[in-house]
C-alpha cells in the first residue's frame, strides 16, 4: 500500500533532473557568480605557486643571488593573502548557496505538501515524506553547491596545469601526460565499482538495523520460545555477510588512490628523467633545453594534476549516487493535488496563502449527500450511491465495521476527498462552487487519536483561531472542563506540552482538542471517536464536553463506543458503502439487527469490566 523506500540504483546520470535542480542555484545569481569568480582566482593562484618556485630557483638559487628577493617575498605574500581570501569567499558563498538552495527546495516542497490531497497522504508514509524533505534535500543542495565548486576548480586547475606545462615545454608535457586518459578512464571505473559496493554494504546495514529492531521488540517472545541461540546464529550470519561486504568495499576504495598515484608516478618519473636530461645536456636532450626551476615546477604539476582528475571522477560517482534523491524530490514536487479550486473560485475566495474571507458566504449547516459514489483510483468502490439529508443542528452517528465506509463519508464531507459521482451540497450549494478553505474554516474536527502540536497549552487551544484573546481561550477550556487539569500543570496555560503533547495523557489531549474546536466555534462538527476506552472518570468528562459541542451544530460522529450516541438524532449503520439501518437508538434496538447485536455485546463487555473493578493498571500493561 505504502510507497516503499526503494533503492533506485541509477546506472546513468539523467541530466534533465540535474538541469532542473540547477535552476535553484541560478535563482541566486549573485552567490552563484561570486563563487565562480572566487574559484577562478583561487585556481589561478594554485597554478601560479610552482611558477614562483621556478622563478626562485632560476633567478636566486642557481645564479646564487638575492637581488630582488624582498620584492619576490612581498609578491608571494600578497598572492597568499589574495588566495586565502578567495578560499574564504568561495567556501562561505558556496555554503550560503547550499543553504539557499536547501531552503528554497524545502519551501517549495512544503508548500506542495500543504496543497496535496488526502489520497496522497493515505498512500504515502510520513517517514517517506520526511526523508524527501530532510535528508534528500540536504544531500541535493550539498551536491548542487559543492559539485559546482569541485567541478569548476578541478576543471580550471587541470586545464591550467596542462596549459602551463605545455607552455613550459610542450614535448615534456606530451610525454608526461600520456598516462592521463588511461587514468581518467580507470578513475571513473573504480568510482563506479566503489559506489556499487557501498550500496551493497548499505543494504546489509539496513537489514542489520531491522534485525536489531526485531531482536529487541521480540526479545520476550524469543525468551519464551527459547530461541536465543538460533536468533543469535542467524544474526551472526548476517553480520558476517556485512563484514565481508564492508571489507570488499573498503578494499576497492583503498586501492583507488594507490592505483591512481602509481600510474601518475610513471609520468613524474618520465618528467624527471627527460627533464633532467634537458637541464644537463640542453643540446642532445630529446625535449630540448630546460632550466632547473622549470624542472622543479614541472614535477610539481605532474604530482598535482591527479588531484583534480580524482575529484572529477568522484563527483560523477556522487551524482550517480544522488540521482535517486534528485528523482524522488522532483517526483514529490511534481505530484498534483486531486482536490483543487478552479481559477475563478480562487479569484473570488482566495487560496491558502491569500484567503478572501470577506467574500465567504456564512454557513448555516444544512448538508445533503446527493447520490454520492466514491471510489479510489485503484477502482475500489467504497461508497455506492449514498444519499443523506441533514438539517442544520442535527447530530448524525455512523456505526459499522472497519472499512465499511464511515470514514469516507466524513472525509467527503470535509472535502478531503471529492465524490466521484453525485454531489455534496452545503446550504443547497455544491461545495465545489466554493473554496476548500471556505468549508474548512467552518469545520470542527476531532480525531480518533488527538493530535496536538508542540508549544504551550494556550497555543494549542488557539490553533484554529490564532487571534483569540486569553479570555476566549480560558472560556473554551472551561466549557469542556479542561481547566482543572490545565491549572494543575506547572505553568497553567503556558505549560509546554512537549512533542505532539508527549507530556499529557490521552484523555487530557482529547480535552484540549475539544477546547480547540470550541474556540473555533465551527458550524459543522465531526468527531472520529477513539476505539480504545479511557478511564471512566475522563470518559465522563469527555462525554460532557461532547454534549456541549454538539449543541447547535450540525454534527457527524463516527462512533465506536455506542454509549456516546444514544442521544443522536439519527444513527446510520453503514455496511459496504451503504446505509443498512437508520433511526434513533430506540428504533434501532427494536429492529433487533446489527446495531442491536453490537450494542448488547458492548454492554456486556462494559459491565464485565465494571464488575472486575477498575483496579490499578498492572505495571506490565503500561
Amino acid at each position: 500500500m505504502y510507497i516503499e523506500e526503494q533503492d533506485f540504483a541509477a546506472k546513468k546520470i539523467d541530466w534533465n533532473v540535474w538541469k532542473r535542480l540547477y535552476r535553484y542555484a541560478l535563482q541566486n545569481k549573485k552567490l552563484f557568480f561570486t563563487v565562480i569568480v572566487a574559484l577562478v582566482v583561487v585556481a589561478a593562484i594554485d597554478i601560479a605557486y610552482p611558477l614562483f618556485t621556478k622563478y626562485a630557483i632560476d633567478h636566486f638559487v642557481v645564479p646564487k643571488t638575492i637581488d630582488g628577493l624582498g620584492a619576490f617575498a612581498l609578491l608571494y605574500l600578497a598572492l597568499i593573502l589574495i588566495q586565502s581570501s578567495g578560499v574564504i569567499t568561495f567556501i562561505t558563498f558556496a555554503g550560503k548557496l547550499e543553504m539557499a538552495i536547501a531552503y528554497t527546495i524545502r519551501q517549495d516542497a512544503f508548500l506542495r505538501l500543504q496543497e496535496l490531497s488526502f489520497s496522497f497522504y493515505d498512500r504515502t508514509a510520513v517517514g517517506y515524506m520526511m526523508a524527501r524533505m530532510m535528508s534528500d534535500t540536504s544531500r541535493l543542495s550539498d551536491m548542487i553547491a559543492w559539485s559546482l565548486v569541485d567541478v569548476l576548480w578541478s576543471l580550471l586547475y587541470a586545464i591550467g596545469c596542462i596549459v602551463t606545462m605545455f607552455v613550459l615545454s610542450w614535448k615534456l608535457a606530451l610525454i608526461s601526460l600520456a598516462v592521463l586518459p588511461l587514468l581518467a578512464f580507470i578513475s571513473i571505473r573504480l568510482q563506479k565499482s566503489m559506489l556499487k559496493h557501498q550500496r551493497e554494504a548499505r543494504k546489509l546495514n539496513s537489514r542489520i538495523t531491522g534485525a536489531f529492531n526485531e531482536g529487541i521488540m521480540g526479545a520476550v517472545t524469543t525468551k519464551t520460545l527459547v530461541r536465543e541461540e538460533d536468533n543469535a546464529n542467524e544474526f551472526n550470519e548476517l553480520t558476517g555477510k556485512m563484514r565481508q561486504a564492508s571489507i570488499k568495499s573498503a578494499l576497492v576504495s583503498a586501492s583507488f588512490f594507490p592505483i591512481i598515484m602509481s600510474l601518475g608516478a610513471v609520468g613524474t618519473g618520465l618528467a624527471l628523467t627527460l627533464g633532467g636530461q634537458g637541464v644537463l645536456n640542453p643540446q642532445t636532450a630529446l625535449i630540448g633545453a630546460l632550466t632547473a626551476g622549470t624542472l622543479v615546477a614541472f614535477i610539481s604539476y605532474c604530482t598535482q594534476i591527479f588531484d583534480p582528475i580524482q575529484q572529477l571522477a568522484n563527483i560523477l560517482a556522487e551524482m550517480l549516487g544522488s540521482q535517486a534523491s534528485a528523482e524522488r524530490v522532483i517526483t514529490l514536487m511534481d505530484t498534483k493535488p486531486d482536490v483543487t479550486d478552479s481559477a475563478e473560485i480562487i479569484w473570488k475566495y482566495g487560496d491558502i496563502l491569500d484567503p478572501h474571507p470577506e467574500n465567504w458566504e456564512p454557513i448555516t449547516g444544512n448538508i445533503t449527500f446527493d447520490h454520492v459514489t466514491f471510489q479510489y483510483k485503484s477502482g475500489e468502490r467504497v461508497l455506492d450511491d449514498f444519499s443523506l439529508d441533514v438539517k442544520a443542528g442535527q447530530t448524525i452517528a455512523l456505526v459499522g465495521e472497519t472499512g465499511a465506509g464511515k470514514s469516507t463519508i466524513v472525509n467527503l464531507l470535509c472535502r478531503f476527498y471529492e465524490p466521484t459521482e453525485g454531489e455534496i451540497r452545503i446550504d443547497g450549494t455544491d461545495y465545489r462552487q466554493r473554496s476548500q478553505l471556505w468549508l474548512q474554516s467552518s469545520l470542527g474536527y476531532v480525531l480518533q487519536t488527538p493530535h496536538l502540536f508542540s508549544g504551550t497549552i494556550k497555543d494549542n487551544i488557539r490553533f484554529g483561531k490564532p487571534d483569540a484573546t486569553d479570555e476566549e481561550v480560558m472560556l473554551a477550556a472551561r466549557l469542556v472542563h479542561a481547566e482543572p487539569f490545565i491549572l494543575q500543570q506547572e505553568k497553567g496555560y503556558d505549560t509546554e506540552i512537549g512533542e505532539s503533547g508527549a507530556r499529557l495523557s490521552t484523555g487530557q489531549k482529547q480535552l484540549l482538542s475539544f477546547a480547540r474546536v470550541v474556540l473555533k466555534d465551527p458550524r459543522i462538527f465531526v468527531l472520529d471517536e477513539a476505539t480504545s476506552s479511557i478511564d471512566t472518570e475522563t470518559e465522563q468528562l469527555i462525554q460532557n464536553a461532547i454534549t456541549h459541542i454538539l449543541n447547535n451544530r450540525t454534527s457527524f460522529i463516527v462512533a465506536h463506543r455506542l454509549s456516546t450516541i444514544r442521544t443522536a438524532d439519527r444513527i446510520l449503520v453503514i455496511r459496504n458503502g451503504k446505509i443498512q439501518e437508520s433511526g434513533t437508538h430506540e428504533e434501532l434496538l427494536r429492529q433487533h439487527g446489527y446495531y442491536y447485536d453490537l450494542y448488547t455485546q458492548q454492554f456486556c463487555e462494559d459491565r464485565t469490566a465494571e464488575s472486575l473493578g477498575t483496579a490499578k493498571q498492572e505495571e506490565e500493561n503500561d
Binding site: 605557486y49 636566486f60 638575492i66 628577493l69 597568499i80 581570501s85 578567495g86 578560499v87 574564504i88 568561495f90 567556501i91 562561505t92 558556496a94 555554503g95 550560503k96 539557499a100 531552503y103 519551501q107 500543504q114 496543497e115 497522504y121 520526511m130 530532510m134 542489520i208 536489531f212 529492531n213 526485531e214 531482536g215 526479545a219 525468551k223 519464551t224 536465543e228 536468533n231 543469535a232 544474526f235 558476517g240 556485512m242 571489507i247 586501492s255 594507490p258 601518475g264 613524474t268 618519473g269 624527471l272 628523467t273 633532467g276 632547473a292 491558502i352 470535509c414 474548512q440 474536527y445 493530535h451 496536538l452 454492554f603 464485565t608 464488575s611 472486575l612 490499578k616 493498571q617 498492572e618
Partner: protein, 613 residues
C-alpha cells in the same frame, strides 16, 4: 513513565569515561592487524618522503654535482655504482627510483587500509554480535523498561561511530605523528636552523586546529538543533495534516515552517562561514610557512649553507605536513565522540544477564504444578501476588479470572521464571522452578501472549520456528488446531506470506491464532494462554479450545480470560483479586457461591440470552 526512563538513558552516559577495557576486549584477535597497519604507516611514510628526496638528489648531485647535501651512506652507495657520471648517463635510474618509491608508498598505503579494514570491520562485527546476544540474554524486566528506539539507535549508529573512528581516524593519528617525526629527523639531519624555521608555524597550526574544532562543536550543535526543530515541526505537520486542513491553518503552518527553515539556514550558514575562515586562514598560514622556507632557503643557498635540492626537499615536506596537522583537531574531536558512543554501548553490555538462581537442572517436566504461598512484587512496597497457593495435576485445565492488575500475568510469568518469586515456592513435578535451567523450563512451557510478536518471515517459518525439522503436514495440523489454516490458505501466497515488520499486517485475531499454532509446535507439556483469544470470536474460541483439549490430554493448560464461556469447562477456576485467590473451584461450585465469578457470569448470561438493553 517510559519517557522519563528514556530520558535518563539518554542523558546519563554522556559524561561517562571511555572504557578502554572494552576496547581491548573488542580488539582481541585483531591486534595483529593494527600492528601491520602501523608498520604499513611507517613504511608508506618513509617511502613517501623518499620521493622528494629523489628529486632533491637528482637536482643537487646529478645535475649540479653538489655532494654536500647527500648523506654519507647514500654517497658511498652512489660512488660504488660509478659516481655522478654514471647517473648523468643513466638519468632514467632516477626516474625509475621515483616511480618505485611512489609505488611502494602506494602499496603500503593499501596494506594500511586493508589491515585497518579487517580490524575495524572485525571489531564492529564482534561488537554487533555481542550486543545482539546480550540483549537477548538480559532479564525480561530489562526489556519492559527499555525503549526500543533508543536501543536500536545505540546498536546501529553508536557502533558505526566507533567503527568509523577505528576505520578512518585511528591510523590518521599515528600517521600524523610518524610523518612529523620522520620529517623532523630528515630535515634536522640536513640543516638544524632551516628545520626550525620551516617548522616554526606548525605548533601554532596544531594549537589553532585544537581550539577551532572545539569551538566549532558549538556551531555544529546549533545547526543540529535547528535541523531537529525543523524536522520535528515537519513531522508534526505531516502526521497532523488532517487537523491542519480541518482548521484551515495551512498558512500559519507555512509561516511556522518558513521561520524554522530560515533559522536552520542561518545557523548552518554560520557554521559554514566558520569553516570557510578556518580553511582560508590555515591555508594561508601553510603557504606562508612554505614561502618562508623558500625565501630562507634562497638566502641559505646564496650564503652557501644550503642547496637547490634542499630547498625543493624542505618546501615539499612542509607542504606534506600542513594538511594532516590542520586535521588533527578534528580527529581528536571525533575521538571524543567515539568515546561517548563506546560508553553508551558499554552501558548496554554491562547490564547483568539472566542468572540461574538454583541448580540449573533439566528434569522431566511431567507432573504436578504446586504454588505454595507464593508472593511477588516488582518492588519492595507493592505486592502483586500475595500468598497464592494451588495445585494443578497433569491433564487438568486451570482457568484464571481477574481484573487488570490482579496479578494473573505475573502468576504465569513466575511459572516461566521470567521473574523470580519473592517468597513461597513453586514446584513442577517436585522440582523447584528456581532449580530448573531456564531454557529447559521454557521449552516445556508454551505460552501465547495477548499481543503476540511474529517474526519478520513467512507464516510457515513463523509456525515452525521452534521445530525447524517438522514437516509441512505438522504445520498444517497445528494451524488447523488453531483454526487458522483456512485463513492462511486464503492469502494470495498462502503459507509463504511474509508477516511482521517487512510483510503484511495480520489482524489481531489472526496473529493470536498463528501464535497459538506456533506454540503448539513446541509440543510442551504445559500450555499457557494469556488472554490469547481475546481478538477471536466466541465460536472460534470454542473450536480452538475443543481441539486443544483433545491434543493436550496429559499436560496442564492454563487459560486466562474474561469470558465465562471460555472458563467454565476448566477443572479448576482461580479468581484473583488484588494478588490473592479469593475463590477456587469448578464452574458449578463457583456459580453457587456469592462472589465475583457469579456476578460476572450473571452479567454475561443475561446479555447472551438477549434480555437487556
Amino acid at each position: 513513565m517510559k519517557k522519563n526512563k528514556k530520558k535518563i538513558l539518554i542523558e546519563k552516559p554522556e559524561r561517562k569515561k571511555t572504557n578502554w577495557k572494552l576496547v581491548g576486549e573488542l580488539m582481541h584477535g585483531y591486534r595483529h592487524y593494527i600492528i601491520f597497519a602501523t608498520i604499513s604507516v611507517l613504511l608508506s611514510t618513509a617511502f613517501s618522503y623518499a620521493v622528494p628526496y629523489v628529486t632533491s638528489f637528482t637536482l643537487d648531485y646529478v645535475i649540479q654535482g653538489i655532494s654536500t647535501s647527500t648523506p654519507k651512506f647514500l654517497l658511498s652507495l652512489v660512488e660504488s655504482l660509478g659516481g655522478r657520471d654514471y647517473f648523468v648517463h643513466s638519468l632514467f635510474l632516477c626516474g625509475i627510483a621515483l616511480f618505485f618509491f611512489t609505488a611502494m608508498n602506494c602499496l603500503f598505503t593499501f596494506t594500511r587500509r586493508q589491515n585497518i579494514a579487517y580490524a575495524s570491520e572485525g571489531m564492529a562485527t564482534k561488537l554487533r554480535n555481542r550486543l545482539y546476544r546480550h540483549l537477548e540474554d538480559v532479564p525480561y524486566d530489562y526489556h519492559k523498561h527499555a525503549s526500543t528506539g533508543d536501543l536500536v539507535q545505540r546498536c546501529t549508529s553508536d557502533v558505526d561511530t566507533v567503527r568509523r573512528f577505528v576505520h578512518l581516524q585511528l591510523m590518521e593519528i599515528v600517521r600524523t605523528f610518524v610523518m612529523f617525526i620522520l620529517a623532523a629527523i630528515v630535515m634536522f639531519s640536513v640543516n638544524v636552523k632551516m628545520t626550525l624555521i620551516s617548522l616554526a608555524f606548525l605548533p601554532f597550526l596544531t594549537i589553532g586546529s585544537f581550539i577551532y574544532f572545539k569551538y566549532v562543536q558549538e556551531y555544529f550543535t546549533g545547526s543540529d538543533e535547528a535541523e531537529g526543530a525543523l524536522s520535528t515541526m515537519l513531522q508534526e505537520n505531516l502526521t497532523g495534516v488532517r487537523v491542519v486542513r480541518a482548521f484551515g491553518q495551512q498558512k500559519s503552518e507555512i509561516d511556522k515552517f518558513t521561520k524554522l527553515n530560515s533559522t536552520y539556514r542561518e545557523k548552518t550558514y554560520k557554521l559554514i562561514k566558520l569553516l570557510g575562515f578556518y580553511w582560508g586562514l590555515s591555508d594561508s598560514v601553510g603557504y606562508i610557512q612554505i614561502g618562508l622556507s623558500l625565501c630562507m632557503g634562497v638566502i641559505g643557498v646564496y650564503r652557501g649553507t644550503f642547496t637547490l635540492g634542499n630547498v625543493a626537499l624542505f618546501t615539499t615536506y612542509v607542504a606534506m605536513l600542513t594538511w594532516p596537522v590542520r586535521q588533527l583537531g578534528r580527529i581528536l574531536a571525533d575521538m571524543g565522540k567515539a568515546g561517548v558512543s563506546l560508553g553508551r554501548l558499554d552501558e548496554i553490555l554491562s547490564a547483568p544477564v539472566e542468572q540461574e538462581p538454583g541448580k540449573a537442572l533439566s528434569p522431566d517436566i511431567k507432573g504436578d504444578i504446586v504454588f505454595d504461598n507464593v508472593c511477588f512484587g516488582y518492588d519492595r512496597y507493592n505486592d502483586v501476588l500475595d500468598g497464592v497457593s494451588f495445585t494443578a495435576k497433569p491433564g487438568q485445565t486451570v482457568a484464571i479470572l481477574g481484573a487488570t492488575g490482579s496479578g494473573k500475568t505475573s502468576l504465569v510469568q513466575l511459572l516461566q521464571r521470567l521473574y523470580v518469586r519473592t517468597a513461597g515456592s513453586i514446584t513442577i513435578a517436585g522440582t523447584d522452578v528456581n532449580d530448573i535451567e531456564h531454557g529447559h523450563l521454557r521449552e516445556n512451557i508454551g505460552i501465547v501472549l495477548q499481543e503476540p510478536f511474529l517474526y519478520s518471515r513467512t507464516i510457515m517459518e513463523n509456525i515452525r520456528i521452534c521445530a525447524p525439522c517438522s514437516t509441512e503436514e505438522d504445520v498444517y495440523f497445528a494451524a488447523r488446531t488453531a483454526s487458522v489454516h483456512e485463513v492462511i490458505e486464503n492469502f494470495e501466497q498462502g503459507y509463504e506470506t511474509l508477516v511482521g515488520e517487512r510483510g503484511v499486517t495480520l489482524s489481531g485475531g489472526q496473529q493470536q491464532r498463528v501464535a497459538i499454532a506456533r506454540t503448539l509446535m513446541q509440543k510442551a507439556p504445559i500450555l499457557i494462554f494469556d488472554d490469547s483469544m481475546s481478538a477471536v470470536d466466541s465460536e472460534t474460541d470454542a473450536a480452538i479450545r475443543k481441539s486443544l483439549l483433545a491434543l493436550n490430554q496429559e499436560g496442564i493448560t492454563f487459560l486466562i480470560s474474561h469470558r465465562i464461556t471460555t472458563l467454565r469447562e476448566a477443572d479448576n477456576i482461580l479468581v484473583l483479586e488484588n494478588g490473592r485467590i479469593t475463590q477456587q473451584g469448578t464452574h458449578s461450585e463457583l456459580i453457587h457461591q456469592e462472589g465475583l465469578y457469579r456476578r460476572i457470569a450473571e452479567i454475561q448470561d443475561a446479555i447472551s440470552e438477549g434480555g437487556n438493553a
